[in-house]
Subunit: 230 residues, 6 copies
Amino acid sequence: MIGVVVRNRPTLGAEQAGILAALGVATVHEAQGRTGLFLPGIAPIQQDRAIAGAAVTVLAQPGDNWMLHVAVEQCRPGDVLVVACTTENKDGMFGDLLATSLMARGVAGLVIDAGVRDSAELRRMGFPVWARAVHARGTVKATLGSVNVPVVIGGQWVKAGDAIVADDDGVVVVPHATVDDAIAAAQMRMLNEEGKRRRLAAGELGLDIYEMRPKLAAAGLRYLDELPNE
Amino acid sequence: MIGVVVRNRPTLGAEQAGILAALGVATVHEAQGRTGLFLPGIAPIQQDRAIAGAAVTVLAQPGDNWMLHVAVEQCRPGDVLVVACTTENKDGMFGDLLATSLMARGVAGLVIDAGVRDSAELRRMGFPVWARAVHARGTVKATLGSVNVPVVIGGQWVKAGDAIVADDDGVVVVPHATVDDAIAAAQMRMLNEEGKRRRLAAGELGLDIYEMRPKLAAAGLRYLDELPNE
Amino acid sequence: MIGVVVRNRPTLGAEQAGILAALGVATVHEAQGRTGLFLPGIAPIQQDRAIAGAAVTVLAQPGDNWMLHVAVEQCRPGDVLVVACTTENKDGMFGDLLATSLMARGVAGLVIDAGVRDSAELRRMGFPVWARAVHARGTVKATLGSVNVPVVIGGQWVKAGDAIVADDDGVVVVPHATVDDAIAAAQMRMLNEEGKRRRLAAGELGLDIYEMRPKLAAAGLRYLDELPNE
Amino acid sequence: MIGVVVRNRPTLGAEQAGILAALGVATVHEAQGRTGLFLPGIAPIQQDRAIAGAAVTVLAQPGDNWMLHVAVEQCRPGDVLVVACTTENKDGMFGDLLATSLMARGVAGLVIDAGVRDSAELRRMGFPVWARAVHARGTVKATLGSVNVPVVIGGQWVKAGDAIVADDDGVVVVPHATVDDAIAAAQMRMLNEEGKRRRLAAGELGLDIYEMRPKLAAAGLRYLDELPNE
Amino acid sequence: MIGVVVRNRPTLGAEQAGILAALGVATVHEAQGRTGLFLPGIAPIQQDRAIAGAAVTVLAQPGDNWMLHVAVEQCRPGDVLVVACTTENKDGMFGDLLATSLMARGVAGLVIDAGVRDSAELRRMGFPVWARAVHARGTVKATLGSVNVPVVIGGQWVKAGDAIVADDDGVVVVPHATVDDAIAAAQMRMLNEEGKRRRLAAGELGLDIYEMRPKLAAAGLRYLDELPNE
Amino acid sequence: MIGVVVRNRPTLGAEQAGILAALGVATVHEAQGRTGLFLPGIAPIQQDRAIAGAAVTVLAQPGDNWMLHVAVEQCRPGDVLVVACTTENKDGMFGDLLATSLMARGVAGLVIDAGVRDSAELRRMGFPVWARAVHARGTVKATLGSVNVPVVIGGQWVKAGDAIVADDDGVVVVPHATVDDAIAAAQMRMLNEEGKRRRLAAGELGLDIYEMRPKLAAAGLRYLDELPNE
């Protein structure tokens, strides 16, 4: 659907967002059954930032950032701007002026399947970005896309209002309807991991903690003292 | 043209270089009509460095850094060494010894369509580098290339003496003859952006500042309250 | 050879490891005749770490980190875990729990031809990693691979017990039998470079230090004052 | 949703399928507003085949073709098997045995975001395939995926029963609900193009047929007799 | 230079074009000192076609084929249309309608750093194309580029009127001023190769024909009967 | 090991070669436990050719085909020339003259981790090639590599005299010592597949032939009539 801006969409509570950001991408992805994770091509341009927020989605045309300006108006505090493109494109659709505008509206960060520029300035401003590329290439404002329609980005299907979690490991989407389930499962997983972390730090082996030895033996794993001659 | 070293070429004043570096890649690229920008594959190996200088160009053979040694002699304080390759190659053509030599001559930095090595040491030395890859692979000194002939690098045509600007966003070339025009246009653009930045920071929308609403409407943009059922 | 764990393999002395790490990837690679260097796709996820140790090798299946757990038990203090994959795969086979376990055993670091996750936490823990990708994608434990069999990784042939050196420039393997030779040659090279570094820093040209001028002339290099009209 | 097979889904009439295949990927993609087109990484392994059919979707695990066997049973004559993967993978999930089974069921072809093997035999059999890679790498049958759940493939969202059109230009998906609209619009477009083709073949210019000259002039296009000196 | 169409440019005689096409890309590239060859990313969409002609150059915007329509009018019989893009883009800028128009004007073929579509039809029509990708993605007509200005494409600098040679091996540009020299050198090379081909076919070794043995010995090549133990 | 030519190496009988070529890459790779398969980047430049032979290995330098000439002398009828490179390189190291020379010696084909040129002529001559790229870029003869030392190519470890099998699916290496075992296992596999092929062609399901249903059920696969609302 091209040429459409959808105004209404679900929101994400600030508390939920804080919890999701703290849980992190890897844990949330695992907790919801290993779904929702973006492919690794969209990567952070900074280190040590973790955010979560409701997606404001943009479908942009290659080399054209017109719809980003339209999308700013639809953003509310805590949102994450999620920009997909109708085709592969690395042009610098986003820079410090748009970041200034988004920060003024309290937006938590940007996830974009295209390029960004003013990257040093974006880091100085503290506005976190996950992008396909850093590229200064300028864009035009000539062709319509859409705002808040469902988009495919990073190999995932993202609907406006879905929760986006992004950190140094990448980006994961949590469908709006399952945010609470995902949080509950992720917190359970964290608790569980905490116990394992202590045991592993004390020198216990995963082989024993996870009781892998019998399964490995059943699968036919053989221990040899020496490498046989090939 | 292979096997040639050209001695004379235009220079870039220290003041011009300082201004270009401060303006930065994105602004200069825009100011000269969105031309001259390198494709994103050649990227900085450090953060927060911005340089500008006159290009000393090198056309090197794959896996062969002989011409870099020849080029050092042609470098003057403030120059930027720009190394293209006759074919795609990521070998480590440049390391800390060549950097030591270039720093001794006051060279501002290196832009290379190949690999570099001793990357940690290069950062420690403070010698800024934009490269295709970090790769320790050693090179030979067996086949001639050229110095200060025009080269294609990063999808751009660079002549010796052209101004090179490089920062966290990448690299842009400004033809020698148009440096002053580019600076003037870029400074105008900066001034113009400064006003917009303040308005955006205060919460005004780009939609209004850039008067986009009528054009968007004319292009047929529709606002819907809800996403229609697909 | 699939489904095998080999227990015995050569070790690397702590002193040798310390020397190799200090010499660094570029120097060691050159010193052993420009061999053993990994292709640049496997890169550090942190800066300014240099390690060396004996390889514990793993051959893993795509999307399956079972063998990593098996390999942990085979690791001794100072080892480097080297994980190859039977096919191209970027899934997040390794995270903070496995790192905790390896740190508890004194392992020096990880080199993996796949993805890792919990990357921010790995940096915080100080566990150094060289990986194909940062990717949170979860893995299963379903199919056997092997531990301490020879593997191909980064375009190199690595046998258990070979010395692995890794730093900001990448990764190099030194066959176990030639570690002492490689160290001796690399130290000689370092000494030799030190003298050159001082001369280059003082402004002498590599053209003169390496006596390149006659060879360049013999190869036909011509110096022109001006670029001829094309 | 992992571990699920959905039995019911929409179908596509043989006549609709025939029309869509004849219209072709480029025309159908244009006719539905430039949507639904797969990114170019998934390409035909043969030339001069055009198919259309209802999608039977598979979500497979990397290196694991278990779900393809499950999906065969869900296929009906004229269907197109569409295989997405939970992560990037080029293993050879599909070969001549599975093709034999699908041909026995009257399946029109395969679209797969992974590798295929027995490629020469597949061409000999006349079973058309669009794949990410030709790669003989064998796969296991160890981990569940799903059949007939919505999947993301080629940057598009595909639901079971959606129409898939594939030819030498690639692959496009038409949502089930809009198949008739897409056909009508595409046929209109074809008619329109036919007239233009005759005029262009007769030497008329697109500049005149599409009345571009005034718009180009308004955009500022200048005609010069000679290239100005740069 | 954006927004400009240059009318006048050099031509290439039909006889010269025929000779260049027969000589082929590899021979011409070698004959002019290993220059002018395009990087391998731009590849033929058909087999067994070899063309040569004078370049009509286009600088296009991403996702926008407006300038191709402008360029058609500038084409004369025997020309080759050469389309560069201001940024990386694989959209389907060219299809059977534009090919119909170019064939009506006697154009020899297309070289494009972007995508093409209707690829099966282009092969049926016999219009030869070298492209970055086959991709049906539709384009707009919204932003100016230029025609017959110098462009960078395939890592080469191409000026309007330069000779373009393209065959199964790729594309090479011959500067207009040196076409006759390149032809002469290439014909000499062909003659020379013909004699060598006969000797090689008769079983003589290149080692002897090219008198390599002394140079190999001087470089230190050693012949061993057996592989030494590593 | 650089600068070495090893004269003696194992051979492969003509009958074994014929059997391996007929079995094909996919079957041989499976039969030897899913090992030895090259990564998909090295692909055939022709269709419908299948070869097998003993490897004559070459380790070449980037942009330098000197060692290929040295290797020709080491080739015997039925051999396959296998060219690895010390670093990533796509230059056109091989063309019709070298092919003429190899055909004169009865060599079965070429597998090369670099570029080849004269590709149309190679197809006309009927000399089969598997290459990283088609690229006309010329090479020098300046730096030593080696012949008949073990090399890494396509992610595999290949020793001189190992059997190489190559067809439309890619390339697989069979260690010399296990050729007979591989043939026996592959023939068994073929027989086994033949029976399955007939049953599948008759409409039986793999689900039943391979008795997958209980395992799928045990793994938790659920059949639903309708897709649940997300």
